[in-house]
């Protein structure tokens, strides 16, 4: 195998421009399904793997700029395109189109699904190669595992993950954003300080576009034998709801011990982030700005979810209460989108993953230091979701609602106690700021649910009703 610059110029992906315009909108991670595509254009191409024999195979890395008929914002998508003469049955579902090379037909497909092609990325990372601007790197002091097989996890909205031999997981960002991805940035920082509550970062693939650094992919140790917090928590809630007459601390599936340990893990990660990246503080202007941002998000949300209007005065009061806090309020880099789906229970404890921040927010906002209570509020809201979503299906009654609330309260308290055991404060005692963050999150959720899962919009609305009642 030898790859040179001339190869890149003759890359087969140039033949795919038209095919991609129809293929991209069929992909789960394509973010503009409702915008007609005007043009798809390769803005970066690199040949990564090339084997010429009786069964030739090829892998090309490309960034495609997608422009739309509405002349709106151009989006960048990253592809690893594989080529084979014969496409095995199991890869037919990721076929893109046929291309020609020296008079032979080759089939182009999503190369991440191909064992050989996906595995070919790791040696590039191990030897730290650069291919036409695509930089492969190993994290200092880490080593890239040698693997024999790979499988794709394609359930995420914005990226595709490849799991290698239960040893490592490569997270490939599909839609690219200029600037270093906060997931890579924070995982690097946490690795530097030896944080045990995140999967170890092993390596990365990065590049540049328009003079800015762009994160293509990151390789982490795979948390073998893990389950996410959401499935753990909902198993517990299911157990409680089935009992009817037993209380949350009496049923076998009690989650409080797990919630406590989860609080410890989150506090430890916050401490490590502060150590690695420093802290700053909000003065009274900063507090006003924070409150103002929350209020304007509320205004925008009411336009989408009119039912929010009845709570708006009380919610605003809660946001304005931030003004009365005594500055300075400490802030630092945080996870930004913490919920039960972003934590993994392994046989030894909890891990936090996906430090990208709230995907809907622009990158500059996601990089901004924030109070750790943002993350705490995210997790507390997630407990509420876990408890409430089972009530959406099946007949709800007062008894079950009462039990679900009890579950939430018990696990919120346990989480905060666990947090306080590691950190120097109990988040539950920071009532004003915590409540504002929770309301801000619930407002965001109401918009999200209205747009994606209308049946679930009741969950944040009911929580907002509850949180504002507690105010009076």
């Amino acid at each position: 195998m030898s790859v040179g610059a001339s190869d890149d110029n003759r890359a087969l992906v140039f033949q795919l421009t038209d095919a991609l315009a129809t293929w991209l909108p069929t992909q789960r991670w394509f973010a503009a399904k409702d915008r007609p595509i005007a043009r798809v254009e390769p803005v970066s191409v690199a040949v990564l793997h090339h084997r010429e024999d009786e069964d030739p195979v090829r892998l090309e890395h490309t960034i495609q700029a997608v422009s739309f008929a509405d002349n709106g914002e151009v989006q960048l998508y990253q592809l690893f395109v594989g080529y084979r003469r014969i496409l095995p049955e199991r890869l037919q579902h990721v076929r893109i189109a046929d291309v020609q090379e020296d008079g032979h037909w080759l089939i182009a497909f999503d190369g991440l699904w191909d064992d050989e092609l996906a595995s070919s990325l790791l040696p590039l990372m191990a030897s730290g190669e650069t291919r036409n601007g695509v930089q492969f790197a190993t994290e200092p002091g880490m080593s890239i595992p040698k693997v024999t097989s790979s499988r794709v996890v394609d359930t995420e909205q914005t990226n595709t993950s490849v799991i290698y031999d239960d040893a490592a997981i490569l997270k490939v960002f599909r839609r690219l954003v200029l600037g270093t991805n906060p997931d890579l940035e924070l995982c690097r920082a946490l690795r530097r300080v030896g944080c045990p509550y995140v999967p170890g970062l092993l390596g990365s693939i990065e590049g540049g576009y328009a003079g800015e650094q762009v994160t293509y992919a990151m390789l982490s140790a795979y948390a073998v034998n893990s389950a996410d917090g959401w499935s753990m928590a909902t198993a517990s809630v299911r157990d409680l709801i089935a009992e009817q007459d037993l209380r949350a601390h009496e049923v076998g599936g009690d989650f409080a011990a797990e919630a406590y340990r989860l609080g410890e893990a989150v506090a430890a990660v916050h401490g490590d982030l502060a150590t690695a990246l420093g802290t700053s503080s909000l003065n009274s202007d900063g507090l006003v700005a924070l409150s103002g941002a929350m209020s304007s998000r509320l205004d925008a949300a009411i336009a989408v979810v009119p039912a929010l209007a009845q709570y708006a005065p009380a919610v605003r009061t809660a946001f304005e209460a931030i003004h009365d806090l005594t500055p300075p309020v400490p802030v630092q880099r945080v996870h930004g989108d913490l919920h039960l789906g972003q934590v993994l229970r392994t046989p030894t404890g909890w891990l936090l993953i996906d430090f990208e921040g709230e995907p809907a927010k622009p990158l500059s906002e996601r990089l901004r230091p924030d109070s750790v209570l943002r993350d705490v509020a995210g997790m507390l809201r997630s407990f509420d979701y876990a408890a409430q979503h089972l009530l959406l299906t099946g007949d709800s009654d007062h008894q079950r609602e009462y039990r679900a609330l009890e579950w939430t309260e018990r696990n919120r308290a346990a989480f905060c106690s666990g947090y306080a055991a590691v950190s120097d404060f109990n988040p539950a005692e920071q009532r004003t700021l915590l409540r504002a963050y929770e309301l801000d999150k619930a407002v965001y959720e109401a918009v999200y649910e209205r747009q994606h899962r209308p049946a679930w919009v009741e969950i944040p609305l009911r929580s907002i009703a509850r949180l504002t009642q507690q105010l009076t």
């Binding site: 097989s149 239960d166 034998n225 517990s236 599936g253 229970r345």
Partner: protein, 596 residues
């Protein structure tokens, strides 16, 4: 049936130990007794065996005195053979004042008279061996009863031959770092003896003085005891309370190097003089400490052949109650590799309480809350219940727990009566609640004894759910869907697959935390076909789906082991299974061409 009766009459030796006028304690010799028919030597039999703990007192009464005996046990060996038991574990049957279930031995050379005599014991070994069943028993090495003549002589004559057989001190301040085990009854590990006017050391009850292993004579005495029973034909010992043999100031007096070196000495005697016999350590410690008792892995292990895996059992209960695999996954992930000639012993229940020593305080509170709602159910740091009442007699859970016992790594140890789902009596004192008579029939005394019911050593269970009229062997033998028949079938399936006994263990994980899945894989050394078994257990009471990453076995066909039904072959995608509440599957993974 017992060959002993066909031999020419011989002079019956005087039973047990005696104290001479000179204050010497004499012991009988094995040569004075008939020796049992020996089973063929099979060095690693214990790695494949299904063990069955049976209390002689509780199993069957052959002479209508209200107490089970060795001759009674012989009469019931056909039942145990039918069940598929490979080895009986008998808790101590030595002469004893019975203040601690026989673990307070007053004469190592004499059988408790109500159980029979040494001839009866040899007859039991004979009858068991002829059925392919081995027999091991407890040997209490750490201490004796205070009624043992060694102790009586030791307190009477500090300067005599037994004066240094026990650990005597003028004060009660030594070894302050050693924990007190029986916290319910003991305040100190030292007790003052008014006769010798000194304190003696005891890790357990104050009526069980610890032997002084720093005295070479004590070591020789115990080796003599071991040789005596091995000469008669016993297949091995469960060594009771091994971590505590030696004491050293400034330590917690557990797992000391001196203790290990003495165990190596015993193992060498077994290897050299009694090959094929087994030593099973009772060391209620974390697995990482217990592995020390297997000895040096570079020689395949040179201390005990087996050791109980204590922390696994409470974790199984906790996992099912929490509907989460992590308590089990965690403890197995913390369990180190063991030497090649070693095996874990695993159990769900035994004659002691549900041992909670090896769980954290928080988990212990949780177990108490979940499984012992009545304070009487708590004893020491444990819970005294049988399996069926612990699981509220839920057949699905009983099957799930038994399937876990028979498929997790280690040799399973069943507790007598659990195969029929016997109950307990928490109103009986100490740990007697789980030691009631075996329930054979719905007749008087549960068919256990012909004695007047008032004469039974303990009353039979009579409550409406677990009473002998509802739960007994006879009824379950006549019902092919009974727990008894089910247990027998599962034991039989386990024995067909060496992977269960000898295979490696690989936790498969999976996204559903309620499901515990693992692969047991055995590769025979002769290069024969590997035996691969997939076990999937739903720890939740609700039906659950699970997607398993079985790509390593792509193209293999899972064949369900109870019905031999082939399931769809394993493909590239995660393998989807659905399980009923508390359901489980055992599959053999066969290459496609072998599955048909």
């Amino acid at each position: 049936m017992e060959s002993g009766h066909k031999n020419p009459p011989r002079k019956k030796p005087i039973e047990g130990s005696h104290v001479t006028d000179e204050g010497l304690v004499t012991h009988p010799k094995a040569a004075e007794y008939r020796h049992a028919y020996a089973m063929p030597v099979e060095p690693l039999w214990f790695k494949r065996a299904v063990f069955y703990e049976v209390l002689v007192r509780a199993f069957y009464d052959s002479n209508a005195d209200g107490c089970g005996d060795l001759r009674g046990l012989i009469e019931k060996l056909d039942y145990l053979e039918w069940l598929g038991v490979d080895c009986l574990w008998l808790p101590p049957f030595y002469d004893s004042p019975l203040r601690d279930g026989g673990y307070d031995i007053s004469d190592f050379y004499r059988i408790l008279p109500e159980f029979g005599d040494i001839d009866d014991f040899v007859a039991l070994l004979d009858a068991a061996h002829r059925r392919g069943i081995r027999v091991i028993t407890d040997l209490v090495m750490n201490h004796t009863s205070d009624q043992h003549p060694w102790f009586q002589e030791s307190r009477r004559d500090p300067d005599g031959p037994y004066g240094d057989y026990y650990v005597w001190r003028d004060t009660d301040t030594g070894y302050p770092d050693a924990r007190i085990i029986f916290v319910d009854t003991e305040e100190s590990n030292w007790t003052f003896d008014p006769v010798r006017r000194q304190f003696y050391w005891h890790r357990f009850f104050s009526h069980q003085p610890d032997l002084n292993y720093d005295n070479p004579a004590v070591q020789e005495e115990m080796l003599g005891v071991i040789r005596f029973w091995l000469d008669l034909g016993i297949d091995g010992f469960r060594l009771d309370a091994v971590p505590y043999l030696f004491e050293r100031e400034g330590t917690n007096c557990e797992n000391l190097p001196e203790t290990h070196s003495f165990l190596r000495r015993i193992r060498k005697i077994v290897d050299d003089e009694y090959p094929g016999r087994v030593l099973l350590a009772e060391a209620n410690q974390w697995p990482s400490d217990v592995v020390q008792y297997f000895g040096d892995p570079s020689v395949g292990g040179d201390e005990c052949h087996m050791a109980f895996h204590f922390p696994l059992m409470p974790r199984i209960f906790m996992a099912v109650r929490r509907e989460s695999r992590f308590p089990i996954s965690e403890i197995l992930a913390q369990t180190p590799e063991i030497p090649s000639s070693s095996q874990w012993g695993i159990f769900l229940r035994n004659h002691d309480e549900l041992t909670l020593e090896m769980v954290t305080d928080e988990e212990r509170d949780y177990m108490y809350a979940e499984y012992a709602k009545d304070p009487r159910m708590r004893a020491n740091i444990g819970i005294r219940r049988r399996l069926a009442p612990l699981l509220e007699n839920d057949r699905n859970q009983l099957e799930l727990f038994t399937a876990l016992l028979l498929s997790l790594p280690g040799s399973p140890v069943l507790y007598y009566g659990d195969e029929i789902g016997m109950g307990d009596n928490i109103w009986l004192g100490d740990r007697d609640g789980v030691r009631t008579p075996m329930q054979w029939t719905p007749d008087r005394n549960a068919g256990f004894s012909q004695a007047n019911p008032g004469r039974l050593y303990l009353p039979v269970i009579m409550d409406p759910i677990y009473g002998y009229q509802a739960v007994n062997v006879e009824a379950q033998l006549n019902n092919s869907t009974s727990l008894l028949h089910w247990t027998r079938r599962m034991i039989e399936i386990r024995k067909r697959h060496l992977a269960f006994a000898l295979g490696s263990f690989h936790d498969l994980g999976g996204s559903n935390p309620c499901v515990l899945s693992y692969i047991r894989e055995y590769n025979p050394p002769d290069g024969d076909k590997p035996d691969i078994v997939l076990c999937v257990n739903n720890l939740s009471r609700f039906p659950q789906p699970i997607e398993l990453n079985l790509r390593q076995w792509e193209g293999y066909v899972p064949v369900e082991l109870t019905g031999r039904v082939p399931f769809p072959p394993i493909g590239e995608l995660p393998y989807l299974l659905t399980l009923p509440g508390h359901g489980f599957y055992w599959f053999q993974l066969s290459p496609r061409e072998d599955a048909q």
